[in-house]
Symmetry: C2
Subunit: 211 residues, 2 copies
DNA sequence: ATAAAACCTTGATTTGAATCAAGACACCAC
DNA sequence: GTGGTGTCTTGATTCAAATCAAGGTTTTAT
């Protein structure tokens, strides 16, 4: 959803402020509209029976989420929580659908958005199934660097505990792999910040090399 | 895409017959239209550097695939191959887009279809990240049973080698887990067929129980 | 029908990462 | 600053599943 659409629909939507750690919706809930991040960041995630978590998305300002039940008529396939204080706009289903039918371009935007998510998921499935933790972590650092203006110094936007839930491992393993990467001269780890010292090496590692 | 749309557009589309094992498109190719399965079955999959495969979808008659690049304007995020002799309709991008703009209901169908795939992917990511192989295999058998009229006798639609690529493991592990499930009295394995003997037990196992 | 090619099973071994268990460090409020 | 809480690291151990290896079976093509 683009910024101008956001402007247009703001008067028929509901704003709500969420505290850090507050749930926005739960897996299995009925979805009665879509959500738009105004400020802050949120995660969409699944929990296993024994409490392990897998993060599916992390979204910031401008992103929409929670559409799947609107289009598909079932419940939320995952849960959502604010990672920090966040302002979220909720747009009720019927208003969103009306908007969609009266604004053809919005439908195309939505198709493109869902397609991007499908692409992201294929990357995530590939990572979980075909790559080992060092390769996944290297790929994540490179993605971060790309998002942050290709700087060598990259700041971690989430805690390492959250990071382990995002790439599908444990905090202990993250710690050990960062250390090995440091020993190999690929990165230098600071608190909340990583200095990329060998981008080529990281790229090779991310494409299934060994550490 | 529903059957009646299929009928409508058949005269502006191209049919092609694929042999078992023949590639339909490769990851990274430019996507210039959408594909519709008329007969047979196809898989959409990713390959790792060292040749391991992860299947993302298996589609049969009536399913469309290959839309992501059409809506998103990039390349195919995965590859596609015929699992058996298959008849596939190719609908060029511009014709599909025109159809989409002149048929609002088609757009909604497409949004629902992509949403269903997103939901399927969340299930797959959850399985790969949070469940062990026995749980994934149990879940797959239950899904098959549901698809096949809830019969206790379920026929495997793909080889065990392909099955291992679908649930993210190896043929050896599939073999061993089937055997353990048999020993536990959950199933009885025949050639190309599984007899479900303890549905409750399988359900419990699929929800993260131990074998 | 027969040969060839896939595919499947079983056993022995290795391996990557999880788990368990302490400590160390960083960040916050007061 | 100081105490406390939550987060991170490091080491020892366990575990699920991959890999390697070899024999057996089914399927496919000719």
């Amino acid at each position: 959803m683009s910024a101008d659409h956001l402007e247009t629909l703001s008067h028929i939507a509901v704003r709500k402020a969420y505290k850090r750690g507050e749930m926005i919706f739960h897996e299995g809930d009925k979805g009665n509209g879509i959500y738009i991040v105004e400020t802050g960041r949120i995660k969409v995630f699944k929990l296993s029976m024994d409490g392990k978590e897998q993060i599916l998305h992390i979204y910031g300002p401008g992103h929409t989420f929670g559409e799947v039940p609107v289009f598909q008529g079932k419940n939320f396939p995952a849960s959502s929580m604010a990672l920090e204080p966040a302002g979220i706009i909720f747009l009720p289903r019927d208003r969103f659908v009306k908007l969609l039918t009266t604004t053809p371009a919005l439908g195309m935007n939505m198709l493109a958005d869902l397609s991007r998510r499908l692409r992201d998921f294929t990357v995530q499935i590939e990572a979980l199934s075909l790559k080992e933790v060092p390769a996944r972590l290297a790929a994540y650092l490179l993605t971060l660097s790309r998002e942050q203006d290709n700087e060598a110094r990259v700041s971690l936007p989430i805690s390492k505990a959250q990071l382990s839930n995002l790439i599908g491992t444990t905090p202990e393993t993250i710690s050990r792999v960062f250390k090995k990467m440091g020993d190999a001269g690929l990165i230098e780890v600071q608190t909340r910040t990583i200095e990329i010292q060998d981008k080529e090496g990281l790229e090779e590692l991310s494409e299934s090399g060994r550490l």
